[in-house]
Amino acid sequence: MTAAVTDLLINPGRFFEQKMQEKESLTIPFLVVFVLGIISAATAVLSTAPFLAMLPAEAASFTPIVMAISAGAALVASLVMWVVCAVIFFVISMVFSGTGGFKRVLEFVGYGFLPQIIGAAVTLPISYLYFADLTIPQVSDPAQIEEVTRQLLAAPELQIAVVISLLFLIWSANIWIFGMKESRTLSTRNAAITVGVPVGLYVLSQLSGLLFSGGF
């Protein structure tokens, strides 16, 4: 098991070659994405709690509900992202006349989320330390809430956490290239294009968002 995880992380080519010999199974990929969703939910709760403190006292009773919704949304978002990534890769690979079923693609994309669990585990303490030491002023004006939120999210700690997340996403993309190559029988170049284009666009959009928000 440990060897398999190690192969997935640092030698994904060999890992997926072995997996191609096995029957398609979504159990482990689902667990990977689910764990990622749990950590994302924890991060969402941590980052939502201070902002809820800005709400007026009469809205305080909604705090647990809002936190539960945000945690659930983060968990569901992870699962949705898994499927969305698989669909995008599958569709792009069709351009390169890729062969292989969608379930296999979904399985390998799920495995590829493993580095992001590590990334989420790294950024979670950063978020915790930042938000735990934060004093949020109580505001009632929605415009003020938006402004305060914008300024809080522009903190260097959170900006660096986003960059770290992008690094682990790139690590995931590296794994996905090998996964798409095996699952859709693509050349290395075509697999790199299939994965690199959408992931690259996403990374660029995130970095530009950081730049325009004044984080760097």
Partner: protein, 385 residues
């Protein structure tokens, strides 16, 4: 013959008539002089008793015939070389009967320096020497005395103060109809005027006015009074110079600590009343370019006695501002509002600088993560090759 006798008788009669007539006239003259001697001045008065220069007075002279026969009077008049007497003569008096009195009234005007004057009152009889009497008229121009007995050390704009005047009568006679009316630009006076009325000699009366000056100027008190039927006006001016009240409340902020979180600054400190009067309804907030935000847009301290202090805390946002004004608003005992402004620097507070510290440890973690991820990716591709 008869004719000659008649002529002789007529000549004798004609010679006798002058002798008889002369004897009758002498007797009548002696009777008139003795009768006129019974006429005397029994009363003389002047109103007002003491004139000021330029005043007019009414002089009344009463004569009485104490004799038993009527005395014919040809003329009564008043004369003086200094005083002005517009109508100085009664030319058709007639006779004053036995035991009767007769009053003569004259108006005199004192366009003369201060002093005592003696106009002469004369009665001319038809067949007797004149009667003369001198009536003293005192002219003394001392005016009412107006003095300020209470006023503040300094005047502040919009600050209500009380001014107290004392009006005294240093004259020998009574003064009537005294009123005081304040007038001045840039000064609001609650009372439109004050009527004192009559002041006996050496009496005084106090009057108070509540004034609220708005700007530097002069407040004039018009004191109007009557001496007899002569109206006089006396102005007493009070310069109003707006300056800082030496005893006023003086809120001072100290021990300022500023922290920031999420762009919202929290400014806390102490406010002390370093003045000598109470500062009421003390309110603290921040002014432009700062924007006050919840929970403490405004901090209400309340009343601060002299040397008393209180803590405060305000919240605000200030984008791209190096300093913000801390506004302290308060009122004095009369309800006048004041505002003091204390600039507070944003960049120099330690808490703010700590917030600006770049997270070096997290950057190091980022670098490590980048190296690890890059290494793993490179390694995975080498393995593949």
């Amino acid at each position: 013959m008869n004719y000659a006798v008649c002529v002789l008788v007529c000549l004798l009669c004609m010679a006798a008539v002058p002798v008889v007539a002369q004897q009758t006239t002498t007797t009548d003259t002696l009777d008139s002089a003795s009768a006129a001697a019974q006429v005397t001045v029994t009363e003389k008065s002047i109103d007002p008793q003491v004139l000021m220069r330029g005043d007019r007075a009414t002089m009344t002279v009463t004569i009485t015939n104490n004799g038993g026969v009527s005395v014919p009077i040809s003329r009564a008049f008043l004369s003086d070389a200094s005083l002005s007497i517009p109508v100085d003569s009664y030319d058709s008096v007639g006779s004053i009967g036995a035991g009767n009195s007769m009053t003569f009234t004259f108006t005199v005007r004192a366009d003369v320096p201060d002093g005592v004057y003696y106009p002469r009152f004369s009665i001319n009889y038809r067949s007797a020497p004149s009667l003369r009497d001198y009536i003293p008229v005192k002219v003394e121009s001392t005016e009412l005395d107006v003095s300020l007995v209470k006023r503040p050390d300094t005047f502040s704009a919009g600050n209500r103060e009380t001014i107290e005047l004392r009006v005294g009568n240093p004259r020998e006679n009574t003064i009537n109809g005294i009123s005081v009316v304040p007038m001045g630009e840039g000064v609001e006076v609650e009372q439109s005027g004050y009527f004192i009325g009559k002041l006996e000699p050496d009496e005084s009366a106090n009057v108070s006015f509540d004034i609220t000056p708005q700007e530097t100027g002069t407040l004039t008190f018009h004191v109007t009074y009557r001496n007899g039927f002569n109206t006089h006006v006396l102005d007493h001016t009070l310069p109003i110079v707006i300056s800082e009240d030496k005893r006023a409340a003086r809120p001072v902020v100290s021990n300022i600590v500023m922290t920031t979180s999420g762009g919202v600054y929290t400014l806390s400190g102490d406010i002390t009343n370093a003045g000598l009067k109470v500062a009421n309804s003390v309110i603290i907030t921040t002014g432009a370019p700062a924007t006050p935000v919840e929970p403490n847009r405004i901090y209400v301290v309340g009343s601060l006695d002299p040397d008393d202090f209180s803590s405060f805390e305000v919240n605000f946002r200030a984008d791209d501002a190096d300093s913000v004004p801390l506004l302290i608003q308060y009122k004095d005992e009369d309800g006048n509002s004041y505002e003091r402004e204390t600039p507070v620097s944003i960049n120099r507070t330690p808490s703010s600088e700590e917030e600006r510290e770049f997270p070096i440890a997290i950057v190091a973690l980022l670098i490590v993560a980048a190296v690890v991820v890059a290494g793993i990716i490179v390694y995975s591709w080498k393995k593949k090759a």
